[in-house]
Symmetry: C2
């Protein structure tokens, strides 16, 4: 492998991933173990994901607020499952302002504990419900094995926390937010996802039910892209959050929480990338169109750049994000490779002959097709071009997922299939943890999703052969 060549994603996907993320200028490791710097090119994608999610949160009636980064350690222990789930991952502040604290503070791994203890003061009567709040921020979960964007000690995310008068309303909310995540994953990130339910062993510590969206990455592993939890009354009971109903009865409220993080950016890389690097969906691409001027003399340079700037101005006037790469110390070929690595959806090349002929060369990152187009047509057609590029990435990913989704009705099929080919394996399951554990022990795969509402598969469990309770989708996962 030459210095400039990327690792082959088909041979060493993890090495390819980290090289792409670093070379594209998306992120790099930072000094403290497990931390990373999100660089402008990666952060720029995250900003657009944030906007897409936030717009939809607001359309569905939610408001943003902000709870503190740290809270007393003792607060966490009120919900038994919750503390058990998060204790091993906590970062603890023991000193502040030069003195040892009386009670250590926990850096939030998630904010249910603090938020529900506060909701206890905010909720008195049915008139105070529902509370539909979301928070954008950072959380910390200690990690030793780090992967840029996918697994870091500190990560950026949003966490929604809602409180409702009835179980039905909370359940509906949890499913509504799952649908929001699915829409953003598919329509904005071009990642086809399966919306489903988690098994007991995979659910969020403290939830009654966890819903999830799962994508399939190019190495055959699944990625959890967002989760939405129906909390039941677990946190309301742990933190004594009650309301007086219109009937005069006092009851515990019902809750949901839902989160999506910058791991979605890692999902974009692993869903769409290829041997030449990133392929970024236009809707989140920091640069949607790059214009590469080609010239030898100063005279050619100024003629070509004049047209390049005119095209840029027309396109930015349409609200598109355009860059003219006028660096003199790199040759066009170098620039082509660099912008391909960076996954810019459309490249425009202009040389002196193109200027004379009022045309440009248009190169699509997804399709790879290279075409001479009249300049005016390139400008007028660019919005449509980008829409097609967005759709092409989605179609590609869907085709990949379809080709890597298999069914298994016996244990041999399931175990050998997962081990040999990866991908998603769908089969009937009896619902018992012992069968779930057996598959994980043998293949490292876990149940990624169960149907949103359980349905009799009409076939015996693929693991134990006893009566099937529902249909599980198995895969190795990030």
């Amino acid at each position: 492998m030459s210095k400039n060549q990327l690792p082959d994603p088909n041979r060493d996907f993890p090495a390819w991933y980290i090289e792409v993320v670093k070379r594209a200028g998306m992120a790099e490791h930072s000094l403290a173990k497990g931390t990373m710097v999100a660089k402008p090119y990666g952060y720029g994608m995250w900003e657009r994901v944030q906007r897409a999610l936030d717009d939809r949160f607001k359309l569905t009636g939610h408001e943003n607020l902000y709870f503190p980064l740290f809270f007393p350690e003792s607060l966490l222990s009120k919900e038994a499952e919750h503390v058990e789930g998060f204790s091993p991952e906590l970062a603890i502040i023991t000193h502040g302002g030069g003195v040892e604290l009386e009670e250590p503070l926990v850096v939030r791994p998630t904010s249910e504990a603090l938020i529900w203890s506060t909701y206890a003061n905010w909720i008195q009567s049915y008139r105070d419900l529902p509370l539909l709040y979301n928070q954008w921020g950072n959380v910390v979960r200690w990690e030793l094995r780090t992967r840029l964007f996918l697994r870091t000690s500190e990560f950026l995310w949003q966490e929604g926390h809602t409180a409702h008068a009835t179980a039905e309303e909370a359940h509906r909310e949890a499913l509504q937010m799952l649908e929001v995540y699915k829409e953003v994953a598919e329509e904005v990130l071009a990642i086809p996802v399966i919306a489903g339910r988690k098994s007991e062993s995979e659910k969020f510590a403290g939830a009654a039910t966890t819903f999830t969206i799962e994508g399939l990455m190019r190495d055959g592993r699944a990625l959890q892209c967002g989760t939405s939890h129906f909390l039941g009354q677990n946190f309301a009971k742990a933190y004594d959050v009650t309301f007086l109903g219109s009937d005069g009865e006092r009851r515990h409220v019902w809750g949901t929480s839902w989160g999506a993080s910058w791991r979605l950016i890692g999902g974009v890389v692993m869903t769409h990338g290829d041997e030449r690097g990133l392929r970024i969906p236009p809707k989140i691409a920091p640069v949607q169109v790059v214009i590469i001027p080609i010239y030898r003399s100063d005279e050619e340079r100024s003629a070509v750049l004049e047209v390049a700037h005119k095209i840029r101005d027309s396109l930015t006037g349409q609200g598109l994000r355009v860059r003219v790469d006028d660096r003199d110390h790199h040759r066009p070929g170098f620039k082509f490779s660099e912008w391909e690595l960076k996954g810019v959806p459309v490249r425009i090349e202009i040389g002196p002959k193109d200027v004379a002929a009022h045309q440009v060369v248009l190169v699509r990152r997804a399709g790879g097709a290279k075409e001479q187009v009249a300049t005016s047509a390139a400008v007028d057609g660019m919005a449509g071009e980008l829409e097609r590029a967005q759709q092409d990435l989605y179609d590609d990913a869907l085709e990949y997922r379809n080709a890597h989704t298999h069914t298994a009705s016996t244990y041999d099929e399931l175990r050998d299939g997962i081990t040999a080919t990866g991908g998603l394996w769908v089969g009937p399951w009896c619902g018992r943890g012992t069968c779930e554990e057996r598959v994980t022990a043998d293949t490292k795969a876990t149940i990624r999703t169960l149907p949103l509402t359980p349905e009799d598969p009409g076939a015996p469990c693929a693991v134990c052969g006893q009566k099937g309770a529902e249909t599980a989708t198995w895969a190795r996962a990030y």
Copy 2:
């Protein structure tokens, strides 16, 4: 004072401030000492401030990125002034993932140390410059005396960090960002500010020069609303950040950093509030227009609400933020007071007679004028109404500042004036720290601003009577 009456801001401004912030639903204290919850009404203002700043950062060529929340404690000590300034305020993480860390981690009080140590890897040659980056996030500076939004252990802010090839360029950048802050303070928050330079004793720990914008609050105290630092080569030398110039010479780079926080929201409260509560500039108001239906019978209710909803839809169609307060369990008088407390710029009242006469009652929070207006005129004129409300707040605040800006040429005038009346006191200063310290010891006032470029005041120092070096503006401050 009755339970529902606000403290009188002219008698007890701090008590008034905290009551307004809490009752308006802007913020409250949280569990860990010094922390606060920014509630939706307060956070909603902050979101709009963020957007106003971020748009301008991008227009001036900056990109966002994100550095980690924590870094090794030893990193801080490389810049001597910097570590001395921030050490007393640090929060320290000593345990992570259940084990004691080999080296404790510092929760960032600001990110210069981490960012400059990273810039050392990002900058090789003049072609890598300038770096024009900004970060949105939280920082922690241990505080024992907390004031909601103004002084909290954790606060939300942005911090820009730029690197340049020349001192001139860095200096220009620092002044450009100061101008951005001034524009947002004045045009978006309606807070008139003085842009100036800090004295040596008031500058940022590690800066060569600190620039500031300062507003004057309604209690006669100044509030620092944003600072922009010309770092010189201090951090570049501490973290060995050099670049190879186009002439083949290796030099240290020049830096700036600049930050503004949610304390601006506190500034809005203290600049515009009055005895009835908040007065929010329309550009950041979560609710710009509130519609209060007035009715007795169910029949009246439905007739009035029908018109109320039509008006709301017309106004939201113009991009305005409108709320219909249709709560049945509160009387109109209660709602009037509540929305006045919450500082909504315009209130529309509609009763059955108004419906019949195709008119509404329009009440301006700033002017207080109450007027019957044809419904169509109210709808068509609302955008202009809000523009005027924005301007009125600014004009009011400017008038207050002008009335509370005084000049002093002798020490008796300066000392007695600050003590007796507060406000801004402008006078010649010799430039010596001893005179600065004397004023502070006698009056608790500090130098808030010096001119951007020093100019001979042509008069002796108001403190010591020796030759004046420049003109200082003194005030007690938050």
